[in-house]
């Protein structure tokens, strides 16, 4: 049984190939097209999935799209009808797009597939959006049965769901429906605080810890949110007071005027100075989000009485909320789909088709503590021939050395304060880089955060970096109760590693606060003394594990900074060419691709441009 899953036309299009219940390949289109959050039909990602397994189109049993466009259209029409005559302008803008393209997606998908080489189109199916999310978390989790919680902006009608998965079946137990949505509530604050909706949510999450935890202002903001904007019920349902939101009928998330009055502050314009009040508001909405997610999880527990929980949907990428949920220990085991956003919908749609539509038997991991995402390394890898083709094209100067020498050289480079571009094996599926397309640096260096943010990543200086730690040493650094292979939870840095805050810590300007050395791992210890942890496991990423082990042998420290191998506004690198281009366009000192080492000082003059976004363009 071979099923191809597709997500496209909204944001983060992707393709995934599953064979007999196992995920064989999955990738986002943006990595090939080099357009961040590319929503177009995932032609390149599909080609990759087929090529990876040497599968020809006629061998595919079914192709499945990750949501139901007509159901979405129904929601659109009913929403306009309910709010009429409000929303006329939005209606005029949206309807032509639907009439020309989205209503006839089936035809469009078939045309695109024919262009790729599908002479005869296999069975074409459509799954519901939240079922795709639920399946993307449940089937790869390895759990025989589990509660499944999916939370995002909106699919067709559902914005959150509680399901129960048992072997092959997934049963929907409860749904929250549009326009009441936790994802859209968070996006509304993303907009109000000057970040881009649908991509800047993680910046809002990174900003929240700069708020003053014990402050009347944060408390007041929380109260306003929970009394004026949101009616939070005991089961985690939320009802958003639509008088304050305009996303149902307008082209913006909220009414600026009303929100300015409500919070007694102006909307922050993009790339303007961030003040304490912005941080406090970010902290308030983050806390409300955590509260809602926890209530939903309690309800999921109540409805299923399961010891296992699976999480997916865009809100499941909120690693601060995940960390808090895990600390509550409501469930014995929790699995969060690493590609929890819409890209992962392609994978979920394929797996749902296999197990629900075709009744394909499930595959379980050999060890009970492992999952079936294989470290999320489901993207393409590149052969030595392809690396050498890049070397020839750019006349790059690189040396092939043994892996042992690679580990040693990179460990020494990191220890001496250099920044390393690291590309090995198969690319990660999902938004996180997990040690195959990473920029690495020394987490002990107090200067490195500033250097990485401003000189390499060209991004906002307030944004934190995440650590990769050897799984077996994680408890020496972090208060972590379960492995975190996909970097999807934040937990505190151990108290004995932290330094005492100065008395006026929270009154200090943001950058002073940022550059205060909070621990002996200052570059990865966020303002609130937490870290977004990735535990590195030898079974899933041997080279990366060996590298950190070499760094540990040299320095005694089992932690390195792991940030995605890209610059602001660009997708994470995919090919050796992308990696070399990013290396040459930034101040990365050393590049490693497979067994090849490239030192910056050896490289020829580079005159090619890059797509690095200026800070004034939202990303």
């Amino acid at each position: 049984m071979k099923v191809l899953g597709i997500s496209a036309y909204y944001h983060d299009s992707a393709a995934a190939l599953t064979i007999n219940g196992l995920t064989i390949a999955a990738a986002q289109e943006e990595r090939f097209s080099r357009k961040k959050h590319d929503a177009s039909f995932p032609t390149n990602a599909i080609k990759y999935c087929l090529d990876h397994q040497a599968t020809s189109p006629h061998q595919i049993d079914a192709i499945v799209f990750y949501d139901k466009p007509l159901l979405k259209f129904e929601r659109l029409l009913e929403t306009y009808y309910s709010f009429a005559p409000k929303g006329l302008f939005s209606f005029q803008s949206a309807i032509p797009v639907w009439l020309k393209d989205k209503m006839f997606l089936k035809r469009q998908i078939k045309t695109e597939l024919k262009a790729i080489g599908f002479e005869k189109i296999p069975k074409l199916l459509f799954t519901e959006h939240h079922l795709s999310h639920a399946a993307s978390a449940f089937y790869p989790s390895g759990f025989k049965e589990a509660a499944i919680l999916t939370i995002d902006g909106v699919g067709e009608w559902a914005t959150a769901s509680i399901c129960y998965g048992n072997d092959r079946s997934i049963k929907v137990l409860k749904e929250l429906k549009f326009p009441h949505s936790l994802g859209l509530l968070y996006s509304a604050f993303t907009y109000f605080l000057g970040f881009k909706v649908n991509s800047g949510e993680y910046k809002l999450m990174g900003l929240a810890p700069y708020g003053k935890p014990v402050s009347t202002q944060v408390q007041l903001f929380e109260e306003i949110i929970l009394t004026e904007l949101v009616d939070l019920k005991e089961d985690g349902s939320i009802f958003l007071n639509q008088t304050y939101f305009t996303y149902t009928t307008g082209l913006r998330m909220v009414s600026d005027k009303q929100w300015q009055k409500l919070f007694n502050m102006s909307r922050r314009l993009p790339d303007t100075k961030i003040e304490l009040v912005h941080c406090n508001l970010a902290l308030a909405i983050q806390r409300v989000t955590e509260k809602v997610v926890q209530k939903m999880a309690v309800e999921a527990k109540k409805l299923t009485n399961s010891e296992n929980l699976c999480l997916a949907g865009g809100v499941a990428l909120n690693c601060v909320s995940n960390g808090k949920l895990l600390s509550k220990k409501l469930f014995k085991n929790v699995f969060i789909q690493p590609a929890a956003g819409d890209a992962g919908g392609a994978l979920g749609a394929a797996l749902a088709t296999e197990h629900i539509y075709f009744n394909q038997e499930r595959v379980y991991p050999k060890k009970s503590d492992k999952d079936l995402m294989f470290g999320a390394f489901l993207g393409p890898s590149f052969s030595e021939k392809e690396i050498l083709a890049m070397v020839n094209k750019y006349e790059a100067i690189g040396f092939k050395v043994s892996y042992h020498s690679i580990y040693k050289t990179v460990a020494e480079a990191l220890n001496s304060g250099l920044i390393v571009g690291w590309m090995q094996g198969r690319m990660e599926f999902g938004p996180r880089t997990l040690g195959c397309r990473s920029i690495l640096a020394d987490a002990r260096d107090p200067q490195i955060q500033k250097k990485l943010n401003l000189k390499i990543k060209n991004r906002e200086s307030f944004r934190p970096f995440a650590p990769s730690v050897l799984a077996e040493d994680a408890n020496k650094y972090f208060d972590l109760t379960s492995p975190s292979p996909y970097m999807l939870q934040t937990q505190p840095v151990l108290k004995e590693r932290c330094r005492k805050k100065p008395d006026n810590y929270y009154e200090q300007p943001i950058l002073d606060k940022l550059y205060f050395e909070r621990s002996d791992l200052p570059a990865i210890t966020h303002i609130d003394y937490s870290a977004r942890i990735q535990t590195v496991h030898k079974e899933t990423n041997e080279h990366y594990h060996n590298l950190i082990s070499a760094f540990k042998a040299l320095t005694g420290c089992s932690v390195v900074i792991n940030t995605s191998f890209n610059v602001r506004g660009e997708p994470i690198v995919c090919t050796p060419e992308d990696a070399y281009s990013c290396f040459m366009n930034t101040e990365i000192d050393l590049l490693v691709i497979g067994q090849y080492l490239f030192h910056k000082k050896d490289q020829p003059h580079w005159s090619r441009g890059s797509n690095i976004k200026s800070p004034s363009i939202l990303d």
Partner: protein
């Protein structure tokens, strides 16, 4: 033709016949749009649409 059949089946399954006049009107408008070669550039309205 397949698309029209899909829409019909959809309305039948969802028992939303009241949407039919709206959809028919919109489809006729859409036909004009396609014949007129008008632009249907996606507006900046987030993921809702």
């Amino acid at each position: 033709m397949e698309s029209i059949k899909d829409i019909f089946n959809f309305l039948k399954e969802r028992k939303k016949w009241w949407l039919a006049p709206i959809i028919i009107t919109l489809l006729l408008l859409g036909l004009l749009l396609v014949l007129g070669g008008g632009s249907a550039a996606a507006p900046f309205i987030y993921s809702l649409f």
